[in-house]
Each structure stands twice: as structure tokens, then as C-alpha cells.
């Protein structure tokens, strides 16, 4: 019964994830694309929960869907409404080639996993209750993966500074010259 339920949840979540991903890429209105991405992030959070990564799921919703997407929506609102013909850009050979490349990557990943992992993927380990818990994550951050923790914080700092600089009003923004 539990298994069945998990399967159902999984299928729904996976479907939502994939559908929203397609939506992000397809919508003409960027606002709708952003909303689709929020849906995507939500369904991903559900998938994370299904694999007992609770902290990551919570972080996903809080950070990604909560902060990043809000930022996106702010900017989309600031830019204003605009429509575009999403598939009309570039020469046709690029379109075809792009589709091919994407498909190739997808297939290769599948094949790679299938070929290499093979039997080893069949058996997943049992995990105890602390797996995926915040305390467990925190302990890992501060012991085994301290370097990653610190570097990530520096990256965030740099991004913040960059964002401020990029967004600042420049005094000669009155230039009619449209150069970047």
C-alpha cells in the first residue's frame, strides 16, 4: 500500500515536473514561463522528499522558489510585457542542430547510466532516520565539506557585489548611445 502510494505521488510529481519544464521553454509570455518554473521547482521538491532529502527539499522551496523566482518575477514585471515568437530565432540549421544536440545529450545520459551503472542501480541502500535531516546536513557542512561551505559563501558575496554594480544607476545613463 505504501509503495503504491509512493508510486502514485511519484508519477504525478514527475509528470508535473516534466510538463512544467516544457512549459517554461514554450510559453511566449515570460511571466507564464516563470510561473511554470515555480511549478517545476515545487514538483522537484516533492521528488526530493520522496528520496528522504528533507532539508534540500525545504531549501529548494525556500531559496529557489521563494527567493530566486521572486527575483525573476520582479525583473519580468520591471521589463514589462513583451511578446515574442519563441521559435522564430536564428537560422534553421541552428534550430535543427540545437534539437539534435539536446536530444543527443539526453540519449547519451540515458545510455551512459544504462550501460555503466547497470545492475548497480538496482539496489539502494537503506538509510536511517537522520539521512537528509537538517542536523545531519549541518554537521556535514561543518566537518567534511567545510571548504565547499566557505567557497559557496564567497561566491554568494561576489554575486551580491556584482548585482549591485550591475544594477546601479550610472551618472552618464543619459547617453543616447545605445552601447553596453
Amino acid at each position: 500500500m505504501g509503495n503504491f502510494l509512493v508510486w502514485v505521488v511519484w508519477i504525478v510529481a514527475a509528470f508535473a515536473c516534466l510538463a512544467s519544464a516544457v512549459g517554461v521553454v514554450s510559453f511566449r509570455n515570460p511571466f507564464l514561463s516563470a510561473l511554470a518554473l515555480i511549478g517545476n521547482l515545487g514538483s522537484l521538491a516533492v521528488l526530493y522528499l520522496l528520496v528522504s532529502a528533507e532539508f534540500v527539499a525545504a531549501a529548494q522551496v525556500l531559496v529557489y522558489a521563494g527567493a530566486v523566482m521572486v527575483m525573476f518575477l520582479f525583473v519580468i514585471a520591471y521589463i514589462g510585457p513583451r511578446q515574442e515568437t519563441p521559435w522564430a530565432g536564428g537560422p534553421t540549421w541552428q534550430t535543427a542542430a540545437a534539437v539534435l544536440a539536446a536530444a543527443a545529450i539526453f540519449l547519451e545520459v540515458i545510455i551512459a547510466i544504462g550501460l555503466k551503472a547497470g545492475g548497480r542501480l538496482a539496489h539502494t541502500e537503506h538509510v536511517n532516520a537522520t539521512f537528509g535531516s537538517p542536523g545531519w546536513i549541518g554537521r556535514l557542512f561543518l566537518t567534511d565539506h567545510l571548504l565547499a561551505f566557505e567557497i559557496t559563501s564567497i561566491v554568494l558575496l561576489v554575486a551580491a557585489v556584482g548585482g549591485v554594480i550591475l544594477g546601479a544607476h550610472t551618472h552618464h545613463a543619459q547617453d543616447a548611445e545605445a552601447s553596453l
Binding site: V9, A21, G89, L166, L180
Partner: protein, 102 residues
Amino acid sequence: MLGPGIAWYLGVSAFLFGIGALGVLLRRNPLIVLLSLEIMLNGANLALIAFSRHAHNGAGQIFALSVMAVAASEVCVGLGLVVAIHRRRLELDVDSLSELRG
């Protein structure tokens, strides 16, 4: 583990990555490109989490958290760029932003 095996998660992850790649390559609005990029990153994240669960190794989740932080930073800078372009009254179209044309 209850539910589908890791392979299914990995399949979803691959699909997400592919869709994201398609979006990056084909869309003209830089905002949408950034969104597609986010999808790709999420696909990678999913794979990381899945493998973390499979191998009972916390490194995967740590890495996924770092990816999330980096994605956030990158979106911040990217959006700053988009805003700056918009302020300069340039077209928000990656096809026309081709000053690097040789």
C-alpha cells in the same frame, strides 16, 4: 526504498537537462534563457540527490545545496545584466546582442 528505483529519477533528471538545453539554444528572450538554465541546473540537482540517496552519501546533498547557492548568484548577476540592457534601451533579444560578431 519505496517507490521507483533510482534509475527513474535519473531519467527525469536527464529529461529536464535536455529540455533546459533546448530552451537555452532556441529561445531569444534572455530571461527565458535564464529560466531554461535554471531547469538544467535543477536537473543536475535531481541527479545529485538521487545518487546521494542511492549511495547513502551526504556529499550529493551538500553539493546540491552548493549548486543551489551558485544558481542563485548566477541568476542575480544575470538579471542585473538584463536590467542594465533594458536601461540602455537595447532590444532584449540574444540574436541582436551580437557585438562579438567576427
